[in-house]
Subunit: 626 residues, 2 copies
């Protein structure tokens, strides 16, 4: 997955007289703490506010209508909200802070039609873990049966009991303490825990999307389905390597290296659960299940399994199937008998994150031929409908995250994120309106599309001679210059850039994008061939992940990165992996559906596909396809 | 259970030129190490030598015929071997040390008709844990399935796979290391471990009898059934209390007290396994299963479960059923995926040791009405046949272990262990022929029977006036004297005893035995009543445990401790619990049989039995019953 991480603006820690915030139409009220955004307060008040970027200010979906004293507008709000909306009091919940008594109108979402990551979670609430209350007969001198026999009699085979030391210990304690009144927690048909008294309303669950770059945690109440908190953090494994291959290589650097990576992510998860619980006024002990989505390598590292074979032909990972594990066995600090569910993978390079994307987007149920692309160093591509599903992973390289681009950078402050010609001038937007510090994936795509449109670059990706560009706007032609490595396109003169160096796009940079484009477009061709369809038959194109969420479709189409299909709908599905993980948390049926999806998807190994290299050579051109 | 522990004589650590010992008829040879008895050497050579006291020199069953230079005869050998046997070169294997080249003739026992604890282990070798070898298809670029999918395809549902982190880790490692050639270890229908290559011949198991006083470990090769080593040790929990009730009370003395007891026994078990493996030239990692017999409290303490409810009405323990657990969950240092099986209990006071006694003695399959008594502070009594089984536990007090007797002691050096009239004189035997230091249970029984026979004590347990004892042998009448607390019977004058004090039996001592006798005899009566039979119908009487092994039946009969049943056979079954545990180790079928036995036995709670107190008052007399 190609996650882009955007720094959240630090909350200004000024002292504000304690205001009161009221959410409408629910009427829930909170006393805002200093430095908490409306989005964080909504989570505290258990009011659902739609968003896909975990409060990073990059999705623009968390718009609410505020009345009362609020913090000044931010750049992100000016970016996402039209003037008319601003006049009506619309704000982004992740940007606005209350500065006095405030009321906030939130568009209602039903408890089971939960929007998250841009996709509605269409599930019936029936989680894999559940609780029930029983009363067991009390012992007497004429009935000396042990608590286990009493429990088994009551269950009558309905639930499986696997008595181990800890279970027997807690059963004996609970039976003694609560006069036979017990709450049972089950996972599927397995009894997992026994508690004294009636604790049925205490049942939380967490869903995680473990991205290579970003980790997102969703804490939910499994009795009501309500979202209690969302937390996002950088994956701490990044310190050991930016991408999947670098992390796999790191595990080979010493016999404890795999353990280091495992501990890094486990520590991060435990901290996020603790913070989410804290925000929800709950304790990690109340979490009975965690569901994980993530790519194959990330979930292997989470389990501390060997990953070396993922990077070595024939690319066989330790495990592909969905796993219902003891959370304690993964060193997770939640309820001691909690379960951990890891969504299934299709292959080493089409992981549980893509399965979760499919689950959330319902591609596998669609009547229409649908294409799903999740951009990243490896771009995962799925093509199909309810009839059949094929998938591959195309080695796109890191250019969508700004990697291998001379002035490339991640999508953080100062990254050029879009390029267009406005009023005859080159308009470059940067994230947070910072001074230009580099170019990120979306900016690269826009820029090259623009250069192609005005023929400053030809189909083969070569810069043209300025003298031959009579029809091109002078504002951009004049930026063509000759650098040390040949022709280049000036983005910022030394005086304009953040670090006082000139920023320019080189021919080699364009070549990086060309290779990524060719790999992805060729992957799509191979999948079409596999299904026996033409690209023009595709009726829906779904773009997953943060990058897929923020690219301009027109740029991707004009460069041939995505096929131009007449009548097709192009949709960004945001954090589909997070949405799918939450569905699997809320519904045991969704989990079984995910396992069916993983089994159904036919994986195409591009390195073994005879037509891939031909398709790659055909697609190296920067031109629309379809 | 009433175990008596007898100190093994310390081996003299003199330097002997390395001799060679050859066992016949097997032809196996060993180089004896200094200080190793023939029994220990037989275990090292994996030659089966029958014995029931784990080499303590108290059962006399390990007789072998030796030729060559051997250590001098010990007292135990003179005790157990007749003059004719000594002339023929018979020795006790646990007493004799080779002092040069020696050949030892051992009576052969078939590999499946293994004698241990006096009972043949009648089992067909088919242990719960077993191994098999498989070869899985190697991966290729066209077959990228994970090792788990390959394994599941091969198993085709025959074994259950519960993939957890450690299992997946070892599967991935083994699959990668051994080109798909794997050995599977299973426990029942569950796959528990995967190992690279063919390791089928490495499969050990241990059976433990966890007595309140003594712990015995039997290490066996589960491929051949052979006994590899036997180890006995004092239960280190004795430091926290001599009997079950004292230990339960200790667990109430602080919140870590139960953990202390648990750690004491776990440490002891781990050390015994390590020593037994060392003796067998094996490693604890090769042990895939441990089976435990023991009373309800001992096995609860082993699991670290609460025991307080065992000592409190209505005496409901945490668990009664047989348990197949992860050995690692009990902190056992064996194979990391090994199983631990705890035999089932009938009730708080009729534990898995008795179930093992029944399994080994086949009482539950007998056509003849059979009585089994295991003497101890609580004497467990079972009555029945293949038709029906009833059981109870009678509070006998500690007199069989020498407790509450003024000059009582355990069965160790110097304990008066038998009393008889020989050639008109009182003949007292002491253990190891030591100077008399006290009297142990068997001596007490013999002595009181002798006093009753010659009417120095009446039915009510009162000493008679010496003047009225014209017909009694003067040698014993003259030992009647008056002490500070009334009349007493002199056993050793101050000059004769080990500690220079006079040893004497008091009226209160006799009362202790009377109470024990009454409790047991009344228990037997209640069971007969429950079954609707008369004591005279009993056809077989089985005496279990170390005390039951060494008492003189005639003394027990004359005092009414055991019913005198015409035509009945009286048999000591030795360490039936150890034998039963080994059967459950060697045969999954025996294990299921033990569970059926535990469910079949109808437990009678004497404290709730209306007829028990009447029977107790009737049985307080010291006279034969039947």
């Amino acid at each position: 997955m190609g996650e882009n991480i955007v720094a959240t603006p630090a909350a200004d820690a000024v002292n504000i007289p304690a205001p009161r915030l009221r959410f409408e139409p629910s009427g829930r009220e909170v006393n805002p703490a200093v430095g908490q955004t409306v989005l964080a307060l909504a989570q505290r008040a258990r009011v659902l506010v739609d968003h896909t970027c975990s409060g990073a200010g990059t999705c623009g979906k968390c718009r609410v209508r505020m009345e009362g004293a609020a913090s000044p507008l931010t750049d992100a709000e000016r970016h996402f909200l039209a003037g008319e909306q601003l006049e009506q009091g619309f704000r982004l919940a992740c940007q606005a802070y209350p500065e006095g008594d405030v009321s906030v109108l939130v568009e209602e979402i039903g408890p089971l039609e939960i929007l998250s990551g841009g996709l509605p979670l269409r599930v019936r609430l029936a989680p894999f873990v559940a609780k029930e209350y029983v009363e067991l007969p009390r012992p007497s001198i004429h009935d000396q049966r042990d608590p286990l026999a009493r429990l088994e009699e009551r269950l009558n085979g309905r639930l499986r009991v696997r008595p181990d030391r800890d279970f027997l210990d807690s059963l004996a304690m609970a039976f003694d303490a609560a006069a036979g009144q017990l709450t049972l927690a089950r996972a599927g048909r397995d009894l997992i825990s026994v508690e004294p008294g009636d604790t049925r309303t205490t049942l939380l669950g967490a869903a995680f999307d473990i991205g290579t770059t970003t980790v997102v945690c969703y804490l939910r109440d499994l009795c009501t389905g309500r979202l209690l908190a969302v937390k996002a953090a950088a994956n701490p494994q990044t310190a050991y390597g930016a991408d999947v291959i670098a992390r796999i290589q790191h595990t080979q650097s010493g016999h404890r290296a795999g353990v280091e990576l495992r501990k890094a992510i486990t520590g991060c998860i435990n901290q996020m659960v603790a913070e989410a619980c804290d925000e929800a006024g709950a304790a990690p002990r109340q979490v009975y299940e965690i569901v994980f989505a993530g790519n194959t390598t990330m979930l292997h590292l989470l389990m501390g399994l060997p990953v070396e074979s993922i990077a070595r032909a024939p690319y066989v990972p330790a495990v592909l199937q969905g796993l219902d594990l003891d959370a304690a066995g993964l060193w997770l600090k939640v309820h001691p008998r909690a379960r951990a569910y890891l969504l299934p993978h299709v292959s080493s390079y089409v992981g549980a994150d893509i399965v979760a994307d499919l689950l959330a987007s319902r591609l596998h149920r669609s009547k229409r031929l649908t294409l799903l692309v999740d951009f990243g160093t490896n771009a995962e591509i799925v093509l199909g409908s309810r009839e059949r599903l094929v998938a591959c992973s195309a080695a796109a390289g890191p250019c969508f995250e700004g990697g291998n681009i001379s002035c490339g950078m991640r999508a953080s402050r100062g990254a050029i994120s879009s390029a267009a010609l406005k009023d005859g001038r080159l308009a470059l937007e940067t994230i947070w309106n910072g001074a230009p510090a580099g170019i990120c994936g979306t900016g690269l795509l826009d820029l090259v599309a623009l250069l192609r449109e005005h023929e400053l670059v030809d189909e083969a990706g070569r810069f043209q001679n300025p003298g031959e560009l009579q029809h091109a706007p002078p504002a951009i032609v004049q930026r063509l210059e000759t650098g040390a490595e040949g022709p280049r396109f000036l983005l910022a003169a030394p005086g304009e850039s953040a670090n006082a160096d000139a920023l320019a796009l080189t021919g080699r940079d364009i070549r990086e994008l060309q290779v990524a484009k060719a790999a992805i477009a060729a992957g799509i061709r191979v999948l079409c061939e596999k299904l026996g369809v033409d690209r023009s038959e595709i009726r829906e194109v779904l773009l997953a992940g943060a990058f897929g969420c923020s690219i301009r479709h027109e740029s991707a189409l004009s460069l041939g990165l995505l096929p131009r299909c007449p009548g097709a709908r192009y949709r960004s599905i945001g954090n589909g992996a997070g949405a799918g993980a939450q569905m699997a948390l809320l519904s045991a049926r969704s989990r079984r559906e995910a396992e069916r999806i993983a089994r159904r998807v036919e994986y195409v190994e591009l390195s073994a596909s005879p037509s891939f290299s031909d398709a790659f050579m055909d697609e190296i051109v920067l031109a629309p396809t379809g």
